[in-house]
C-alpha cells in the first residue's frame, strides 16, 4: 500500500463528512452528553472513589483504603441481613411472578374472547404507584380490621400478623410484589406468545396433544427468549427495589420497629440508610459498589446459563 493511497482514502473519508452537519450533530447531542457526564459518568467514578474514603457528606473525603469493605464484611451485622433479605426477596418474588404470568398469558393466548379486557385489568397494578400499592395492602392485611385478616380468621381461624410478625414480613413483601408485577410480565409474554405460529398448535391438536401437553411442548420452549428477557430485567429490578422496602420498613413512612426493619432491609435500603440516615456517605458508597457487582455477577451467570434453556 502506498502513501498516496492512504491519503486518498483519508481524503475520501473526510469528504464524507459535512462540516455543517458535524456541528449540527454535536449541538443536537449536547444536552444528552452533558446529562450523561454530570449524572452518569461523574457519579459512577465518584461512587467508586468515595467507597475508599470515610466521607461524611461534608468536608474533604479522607482516603481509608479498603476499610469500608472490611467493616462491611466483618463488623456490620446489618449488612449480612441486607444480603440475605435481598436474595430472599429476589427468589421469593421473581420466579413466582413469572410462573403466574406465563400461565395467565398462555390462557389468554388460547383464542379466548375479550383478551383486551383481561389485559387492561391485569395491567392496572402496574400503573399504580408503589406507595399506594403498599398502602392498600397494609389496609387489606391489617391485623385488626383488614378484610383479608377477617376472611382468614372466619374461614380457617388463623390471624397471621402479615406486617409485624418478622417471619411473615418478607413473605408479605414478596406477595405484594408479585401482585403488582404480574401484569407487566403478562403483557410482554402475551406479545411473545402471539408471535408463535398457530400451525404448531394445529399440528399438535391433530396428533391428539391436549392443552397441558401443548403448553409444555410448544408454548414453554418457544417463549423462552421472552421469559429470559423478563427474568434478567425482573431480577435486576428486584435487586433495585427500594420503594416497597422503604414503605414497609422505614420509620418515617411505616413506623416500623427494629425487628421488622431488620427482617426487610435490603441492600438498596442499606445504601439509603447508611447515606441519608447515618450520614456515612463513604460507607454507603462501598455498599453501592458491592450491590453493583452482585447484580453484575448475577446477570452474567444468567447470560451463561441462557444457552442451557433458551431456544432461539
Amino acid at each position: 500500500m502506498t502513501n498516496s493511497a492512504i491519503s486518498e482514502r483519508d481524503l475520501r473519508a473526510r469528504q464524507r463528512y459535512d462540516r455543517k452537519e458535524i456541528s449540527v450533530a454535536y449541538l443536537f447531542l449536547l444536552p444528552l452528553l452533558v446529562g450523561i457526564i454530570i449524572f452518569f459518568i461523574v457519579p459512577i467514578v465518584e461512587t467508586f472513589y468515595y467507597s475508599f474514603t470515610s466521607w461524611k457528606g461534608v468536608g474533604v473525603a479522607k482516603w481509608t483504603g479498603i476499610a469500608n469493605y472490611i467493616k462491611m464484611f466483618s463488623k456490620d451485622k446489618k449488612f449480612g441481613l441486607e444480603i440475605s433479605n435481598t436474595f430472599a426477596f429476589v427468589f421469593g418474588s421473581v420466579p413466582l411472578t413469572l410462573m403466574i404470568a406465563i400461565v395467565i398469558a398462555s390462557m389468554m393466548n388460547a383464542r379466548i374472547k375479550a383478551v383486551g379486557f383481561f389485559r387492561v385489568i391485569y395491567f392496572l397494578p402496574n400503573v399504580t404507584m408503589v406507595a399506594v400499592v403498599v398502602m392498600i395492602w397494609r389496609w387489606l392485611l391489617n391485623s385488626e380490621y383488614g378484610i383479608v385478616d377477617l376472611a382468614l380468621n372466619s374461614l380457617f381461624g388463623i390471624r397471621p400478623a402479615w406486617m409485624s410478625d418478622t417471619n411473615l414480613t418478607m413473605l408479605s413483601m414478596c406477595l405484594i410484589s408479585v401482585w403488582s408485577g404480574v401484569g407487566y410480565c403478562i403483557v410482554i409474554l402475551l406479545s411473545g406468545l402471539q408471535s408463535i405460529s398457530p400451525t404448531y398448535y394445529e399440528a399438535a391438536t391433530i396428533d391428539g396433544a391436549n392443552g397441558i401437553q401443548q403448553f409444555f411442548k410448544i408454548t414453554l420452549p418457544l417463549v423462552t427468549p421472552t421469559l429470559f428477557f423478563l427474568l434478567v430485567t425482573r431480577v435486576i429490578g428486584a435487586f433495585n427495589q427500594f420503594d416497597m422496602v422503604y414503605l414497609m420498613a422505614d420509620n418515617a413512612s411505616s413506623g416500623a420497629v427494629g425487628p421488622v426493619v431488620n427482617s426487610l432491609r435490603t441492600l438498596v435500603f442499606g445504601v439509603y440508610q447508611s447515606a441519608f440516615a447515618d450520614m456515612q456517605m463513604g460507607y454507603a458508597c462501598a455498599k453501592a459498589v458491592f450491590l453493583f457487582f452482585v447484580i453484575l455477577v448475577v446477570t452474567v451467570v444468567q447470560m451463561i446459563g441462557e444457552k442451557r434453556w433458551v431456544n432461539y
Binding site: G57, I112, F118, L140, L150, W179, F242, A288
Partner: protein, 283 residues
C-alpha cells in the same frame, strides 16, 4: 361480553376446559381488581364504619369525609408538585432524547458509533448505585429541597434515546434528500418531517416516562424534605406514619393519587402496551 362467549361455546358443545379457562382468568381479575375496589369503597365510609367488624361491603352511608380531610391536609400542593415534576421530566426527556436520536440516526459525524456505544453502556449501571454522588451534585447545583432538584438528574434518558433512534433509523434516506434539495435546514427536517412522523413512538415513550415520573419515590425522598415540595408518592408514604389509623383518609388520598394515571392509561392504553412490548422485544 365474556359471559356471552362462554354461553356461545356452551351452546355448541360443552367444553369444560374452556370454561375452566374463563373461571381462572376471571378469578385473576377479581384478585387484581378487588384491592382497588375496596380502597375506593373504604374511602367513602365514615371513620366508624371503616373499622367496623364485620365490615360492610358497600358503605351504608356514602360520606366524603376522607376526601375532605385530604383537602384539609393539603393534598393539593403535592398534587401540583407532581404534575409539574412529571410533565417537565417527560418534556425534557422527549426533547433531549429525540434531538440526540436525530443526530445518532440521521446525521454523519466522526465518532458517532463510539459515542453511541458509550451512551448505551450507561444502561448497565443501576441508577440506585449512583444516588449518593448524584445527591451531592444536585445539591451543588442548587437543586436541594426544590422541585427543580427532582427534575434535574432526570432530564435525559438513555432508554428513550435508544428507542427513538431505532424509530428514526427506520425511515428511508430519501426523506431528507428531497428536503435538502428544497433547501431545508437540519433543524427544519427534524422539526417538520421526522417528529411529525414519529408521533406514535413519542406518545408511547412519553407515557412510559410520565408514569415513571409520577410514581417515583426514591429520588424525591432523597432530594426533598420540605413539606411544600413533596410529591404525591412522598405524601402517601409519609401519611402512613402521620395518620396511622385514619383509614378513610388514607384510602381517599390513595384513590386521588392514582386517578390521573388510571385516566391516562385508559386513554392511551394502546400506547402503554406498545411501549411495554417495545422494551420487551429488545431482549
Amino acid at each position: 361480553m365474556t359471559a356471552n362467549a362462554i354461553s356461545r361455546t356452551n351452546h355448541k358443545k360443552i367444553q369444560p376446559g374452556r370454561v375452566m379457562l374463563y373461571v381462572v382468568l376471571l378469578l385473576g381479575v377479581v384478585v387484581t381488581l378487588f384491592p382497588f375496589i375496596w380502597m375506593v369503597l373504604c374511602s367513602f365510609k365514615s371513620n366508624v364504619e371503616v373499622i367496623q367488624i364485620p365490615p360492610s361491603f358497600l358503605p351504608k352511608q356514602w360520606v366524603a369525609d376522607g376526601y375532605i380531610r385530604a383537602w384539609e391536609r393539603d393534598i393539593v400542593t403535592p398534587y401540583l408538585n407532581t404534575i409539574i415534576v412529571a410533565v417537565s421530566i417527560t418534556f425534557f426527556q422527549l426533547a433531549t432524547a429525540s434531538m440526540a436520536a436525530y443526530a445518532f440516526a440521521r446525521l454523519r459525524f466522526p465518532g458517532r458509533n463510539v459515542l453511541f456505544l458509550v451512551v448505551l453502556s450507561m444502561m448497565m449501571v443501576p441508577q440506585n448505585m449512583t444516588m449518593i454522588p448524584k445527591f451531592h451534585i444536585v445539591r451543588a447545583l442548587g437543586g436541594y429541597d426544590k422541585l427543580i432538584g427532582i427534575i434535574m438528574p432526570n432530564f435525559i434518558s438513555i432508554n428513550v434515546t435508544f428507542f427513538i433512534r431505532q424509530n428514526f433509523l427506520s425511515f428511508p434516506s430519501e426523506l431528507e434528500d428531497a428536503a435538502k434539495i428544497d433547501g431545508c435546514s437540519h433543524l427544519r427536517i427534524f422539526l417538520r418531517i421526522l417528529l411529525p412522523l414519529s408521533t406514535s413512538i413519542l406518545t408511547a415513550m412519553g407515557i412510559m416516562v410520565l408514569l415513571w415520573a409520577w410514581n417515583d419515590l426514591l429520588w424525591p425522598t432523597i432530594i426533598v424534605t420540605k413539606e411544600t415540595n413533596r410529591t404525591l408518592s412522598m405524601f402517601i408514604a409519609l401519611c402512613k406514619g402521620q395518620y396511622v389509623t385514619d383509614y378513610g383518609f388514607l384510602m381517599a388520598a390513595s384513590s386521588l393519587a392514582i386517578i390521573p394515571m388510571i385516566i391516562v392509561y385508559g386513554i392511551f392504553q394502546k400506547a402503554f402496551v406498545s411501549s411495554i412490548t417495545m422494551s420487551g422485544i429488545k431482549g
